[in-house]
Symmetry: C2
Subunit: 423 residues, 2 copies
């Protein structure tokens, strides 16, 4: 494999035209789309239209005329196409953390209403120790708030299936791990959870737009996910929430099954009645008034993914991550790197993670060379290979830059040692 081979792969890439739909700075290889997706070129005009025309000229009338009121469901329906959900099972709202709070409380409530199959109460929320921390924090907050003796049980990646038993109320997992890119088998684990009488909550933050997801094929119960990574929805984009329609039906008469009762979750928000009556739909997972500007930015991002198609994206993603790993193995073999992601592409999302004892400084030096990945404590170099805008030659150049940083020891420069609070 040579750089020219990579250039040839780029030239023959069926997704090549999509790359030009993104505005990326010159001299930068951007391998952090798993943290913040790149800017679609169409976003600026769309946002300006929303601000100048819909807000500025339409003013309050745009809630009906644009119509803004449909936006959470409209963008939700588009995301549904990417995650194997029906349009009416997904809505955009709030943040991933808050959506997780909603579905976790719903799931525990549904469990509490079911007859026990054994003498043991279902009080365990089972998750992965290496789950993204906010998921664990939200679960801890829910447990404390309910005060019903629930427990958060954390196990290692490969131990989840074996840990599911008749005490398990909910299995809460992130499909693709934020730090390693390791991907759970959604269907198998959902099936295992159901077999034991547990409900399954999936966090798709590193999956939506990155890998094909089929929630309904696997009969997932609940899911949440983030708009600002592979969906290219901009910094802090609104999140999404999925509730399987059988559960929407099951909670139809349970007023506070989604306990964040806000006016936009009401069945008739504009009647302004004093008593909460939830909408008989996914709308009850809305709470307050959503940011129309942020949702509009997100919609443009989701459209970039839909235009490319998940199958083509996955095929290129696998090829890119495989190439990255092979080149690291060939070019950086003598360095202190080890692969922290699964070697098998079937078990990996769209990122490759390497561990290195001085990962923070190495990443700073790499960024100085124009290769932007990120660092995750304590020792992970994280490279997101978003197939919409990353090419094969980018991978080649990135690995060569990594080799240069390591071989030259330039990461040892004092300027790369001081950690900023945020990465």
């Amino acid at each position: 494999m040579t750089r020219d081979d990579c250039i040839a792969l780029d030239a023959n890439d069926p997704l090549a035209a999509h790359r030009h739909k993104f505005a990326l700075p010159d001299g930068v290889i951007y391998l952090d789309g798993n943290s913040l997706g790149a800017l679609p070129r169409a976003t600026r005009d769309r946002v300006d239209q929303v601000i100048a025309r819909e807000w500025g000229m339409g003013l309050i009338r745009s809630w009906n005329a644009a119509p803004w009121i449909d936006l959470p469901r409209r963008v939700g329906a588009k995301i549904a196409q990417l995650i194997g959900a029906q349009a009416h099972e997904v809505i955009c709202a709030d943040s991933t953390s808050i959506n997780l709070f909603k579905v976790l409380t719903t799931a525990l409530r549904l469990q509490a209403s079911r007859p026990l199959v054994s003498s043991r109460e279902r009080k365990v929320i089972l998750s992965e120790r290496a789950n993204f921390p906010t998921d664990l924090y939200v679960a801890q907050g829910v447990i404390d708030l309910l005060g019903q003796g629930h427990e958060l049980k954390l196990v290692e990646f490969g131990e989840v299936a074996a840990a599911i038993d008749d005490c398990t109320a909910v299995v809460m997992l992130t499909h693709v791990n934020f730090k390693t890119g390791a991907m759970h088998d959604m269907s198998a684990l959902t099936s295992r959870a159901h077999g034991a009488g547990a409900l399954m909550v999936w966090d798709l933050s590193h999956s939506a737009g990155a890998v094909p997801v089929d929630l309904n094929a696997g009969r997932a119960d609940f899911a949440v996910g983030c708009g600002y990574k592979y969906l290219n929805g901009g910094p802090g984009a609104p999140a999404f929430v999925f509730v399987a329609d059988r559960h929407l039906a099951a909670i139809a008469d349970d007023t506070y099954a989604q306990p964040l009762a806000g006016w936009l979750g009401h069945q008739a928000p504009f009647e302004f009645v004093a008593d909460y009556r939830p909408a008989a739909s996914i709308d009850r997972y809305a709470v307050g008034t959503p940011s129309i500007v942020a949702l509009s930015v997100l919609e443009v991002g989701v459209d970039t993914v839909l235009a490319a198609g998940m199958d083509a994206l996955r095929a290129k993603s696998v090829a890119l991550t495989q190439l990255f790993i092979e080149l690291v193995e060939q070019r950086c073999a003598e360095q202190e790197l080890s692969l922290a992601s699964p070697h098998d592409a079937e078990r990996r999302g769209s990122q490759v993670c390497l561990s290195h004892p001085h990962a923070y400084a190495v990443m700073q030096a790499l960024i100085r060379r124009g290769v932007i990945g990120d660092f995750r404590a304590p020792d992970i170099l994280r490279f997101g290979l978003a197939p919409l805008y990353v090419g094969y030659a980018d991978v080649w150049d990135a690995v060569l830059a990594l080799h240069a940083v390591l071989a030259s020891h330039e990461w040892q420069c004092a300027e790369f040692q001081t950690r900023e609070t945020v990465t």
Copy 2:
């Protein structure tokens, strides 16, 4: 008073220059800034800068470099200046509904930890029957979720003080009523609540940027508010939350006193540890990643209010609402209108509400004439007089248009009768 007198008042208006800082459509008199503030001219450029430069070129680096990470506190500190709070007591986050959930749960938790002063438990959340419904819904959701036998007690506007007793855990009020514009006496009610051992939560959605507020002078405990009304933060702008620093100190060791435990509320989010340890500051009222685009839009809006100054805004607001009422009394006396707002400016926010048996159709006809107010069920015509961009001649013209709609009976046209779902 003649139209020329109004034009003279506009010419001598010390805030006249501020009007030109807003983009408003020709031929429209916009009296709905209490629902959605107008577009500041500076917003388009600022948003484009955030999108094209900070996101597009800065990419993930902008979290540190812009720095985006400071935005919730920076905008919160600006809003603090408008509501009599200290900079470190306010943060922008989520929606008003969700922020209310946070502070209501904190308040109930603080109450539960205090010794009782009588033999009766404090289980009452006291509010106003005509409060904005989402506030009531959130309280109902919290009560159900906690399952500790709390009760939401609703009384009429003028009955709140008398209803506070030793069963009251929390008094939760919206300072300026969304439908009538009637304003509570913040200091007196807070003092009354404290005297009875209750805590006080204020919703400032119709106050921030509309009337002077001094939370700390009145020793308010908690407050929330909305960014998209008088703060001109755009449709669905992020909301804000205030927690008095004595309470931030009191809950420092209570991990889940704010139960929506998200990673940005953690004291060290980027250490990615598995256990939630809240920040020892207002940061713990952050949850997930906030929309940077939406916060940037909000900041421009807040700046428009700060530039004018609350005292000047209030003086003009009082003059505008007084003029509106006087002109309605003079010009529309023979119509079926009655004033639904307090006559005394001291007890009124920056809006004037009139009731009319056919309010919906009347408002539709008025909008057709280019005067945009809104309708609130069942019979309210609502006119928000945002002093930043509404002038005296606007008030004159609006009242004449109202008179024309009523005197001509044009509101009886069939086209004005069909209600849209949203207003």
